[in-house]
């Protein structure tokens, strides 16, 4: 891993210099504050930097999209967040957004337009796929050769928005063996975090959802469980720990895998 310092540009700094960014990287709350998700954020930035894309973040001007409030049923808090974020985004004239969190991606893409915030929104898997297709991002194969990777579909990327192939395309560039769980794509099983579950104790039952899913993922004997969502990442990491398999089965975001392969 290189430790070359990267100065991450903010929209405010660019605006002050009379410049704009081609794409806004929407970091999200998990990506900003959660120690595990911050690593994914850094991997995404390294890739954006590496391919020379003119990107920027909102920095301290970013705020929660309001997704967990909306899914919990609090439309007031959601719209408070949404309308304030839209003011900021529109002020900077943002046209295109990449999000590394499917929940942010879904909310920005689907729920903001009606409130006055219309942007081209992509998930980082889609951006990576596009960069690869355009030849701007090449993946140095080799380091993952012979490894088995299984991919867990995040609900808000898969079923909610029909994005199943982009993440698989990206992972397939790693030269590893991609194995599918029985419940995948449209039939993918949730990690247990969606709909504001991330922020509460599970209701009474006989098993945790993340344990059920981690068990299924480990049934494919993977070296790596690939994810595309910070919440799935937490849930499946905990699920793997439940079976005390964290030494042999690693949970990584696909951005981290690409960054690792390219030794960024």
């Amino acid at each position: 891993m290189s430790t070359t310092p990267i100065k991450v540009p903010t929209m405010a700094a660019l605006a002050a210099a009379g410049e704009t960014a081609d794409i806004l990287f929407w970091v999200g709350c998990a990506g900003s504050f959660d120690d595990r998700a911050k690593k994914v954020t850094k991997a995404v930035v390294k890739i954006l930097h590496h391919v020379g894309l003119k990107y920027a973040i909102l920095g301290t001007e970013e705020s929660c999209t309001g997704d967990p409030a909306k899914r919990a049923g609090n439309e007031f808090y959601f719209q408070m967040q949404a309308l304030q974020n839209i003011q900021v985004l529109n002020m900077y004239g943002v046209k295109k957004i990449v999000a590394a969190c499917p929940h942010c991606f879904n909310t920005l893409k689907n729920e903001y337009p009606e409130l006055g915030g219309t942007y081209e929104v992509v998930h980082h898997s889609q951006l990576l796929q596009q960069l690869m297709d355009e030849g701007k991002l090449k993946v140095a194969g080799g380091s993952f050769k012979g490894k088995k990777i299984t991919y867990h579909d995040p609900c808000y990327l898969g079923r909610a928005n029909g994005v199943y192939e982009a993440p698989r395309d990206v992972i397939s560039k790693l030269d590893a063996e991609l194995t599918e769980m029985k419940r995948s794509k449209a039939k993918g099983l949730c990690c247990g975090a969606g709909g504001a579950q991330m922020f509460k104790e599970a209701e009474k039952g006989n098993k945790e959802v993340n344990v059920e899913r981690a068990e299924e993922a480990m049934g494919t004997n993977p070296d790596i469980i690939a994810v595309g969502c910070p919440f799935c990442n937490t849930m499946l990491t905990d699920g793997v720990k439940h079976f005390e398999k964290e030494a042999t089965v690693k949970v990584y975001d696909m951005a981290e895998l690409i960054a690792q392969a390219n030794e960024l």
Binding site: V8, V45, C64, N74, Y77, L189, M198, A202, R213
Partner: protein, 445 residues
Amino acid sequence: MIGAIIFVVVFISSFAFFTFKILKIRRNILLGQNVNLSGNKGERLKTMLMVAFGQSKMTARPVPFILHFFIYAAFIITQIELIEIVIDGATDHHRSIWHIVEGSFLGSIYTFTINFIEILSVLAFVATILFLSRRNIIRLARFQKPEMKGWPSRDANLILFGEITLVTCIMLMNSSDVALQTMGVFQRTDTLLVSSQLAKLWEGVSMDNLMLMERIGWWGHMLGILGFMVYLPFSKHFHIFLAFPNTYFSNLKPKGQLTNLSAVTAEVKLMLDPNADPYAVPAPDPNAAPVKFGAKDVHDLTWKNLMDAYSCTECGRCTSECPANITGKKLSPRKIMMDTRDRLEVVGKNIDKHGKDHKDGKSLLGDYITEEELWACTSCNACVQACPVNINPLEVIIELRRDLIMEQSKAPSSINTMLNNIQNNGAPWQFSPMDRANWAQEMNT
């Protein structure tokens, strides 16, 4: 002649009763909030043809798909033979269409159709037996969930036994008909593949008994069909009609997109407007209905949610794919839809008895669906994806959560903490918004 009169009376009164019940259900559905789903006719039609007529979402489970398809196809195609049965009944004739088409090109179409029906009926018969054993002998898990106890299971079995009776009667009718043809009593048809085989069983049966058997078959089938029709509006089996409009009015937006409440938008915009006078009293609108957020009872849901409830055939694909249900939580998306229908039926009966403003002091949220069920949902859309007739239990769950949170301020304390954090810190956790880009500073060193 007496037979024909009885038949016509029974036939017309069955239809009248059926229409009466349909209008009741229509009225109940229209108790829901208005939602405009009239656009995108082409795409809607396509969805209906694919999902309802073409059964496309059933294919996710191939074995039940094939078995269900036999019954579905047999049901649709049998309606053709029913035309002749009805004409025969009303005019006191026997195989009146055959009399007209015999010997012509249409005659071969007639024979082909009847044979097609006979073969599909046998396949449907087999499928029905397998469906019955799946419920009662194999006891498939999704048919044994708590919400299936009692009436729902009886309803399912009744329908399956009804189907067996219908197929048995039509085969009895056709096979004794063929036996009578051999005796020279009835005019000969071309070879009927299945009933000519069955007719061999009736060797040695007297002509009078065969005539009686043929009549039992005819009346049994006819009364069975009419009884079926009268029963349908009381049964989960109503999906055979509502699957079509329900898929036509499917949600065409991405599954992840929830509705934005416009009443909230106006309010929030006012709050965020620096020029708004916080003490200004808005001019009262005498016609404005009090704004309510979310749904506490069925009339707060949209008419599409209510149509969903009547379209549900309780197959339980939603529940068997629900992560909460799989891991033993109380939530079952099927129960959400069954509760909605049960509650709507009660509300409808109250209106019939006590007038439209009657309140029975009960509501869907609380008396039917508990908070524990609602808070178990991960909004993963697995139930929405699984439904073969595009029912959306998630929409109902979110509307009920909105009532809990926005009308009753009732939420698990951890949810309240998360909400407060969003309001105060712009993140669901307690971090300072000023620390949001600390990771970027870490990258610059």
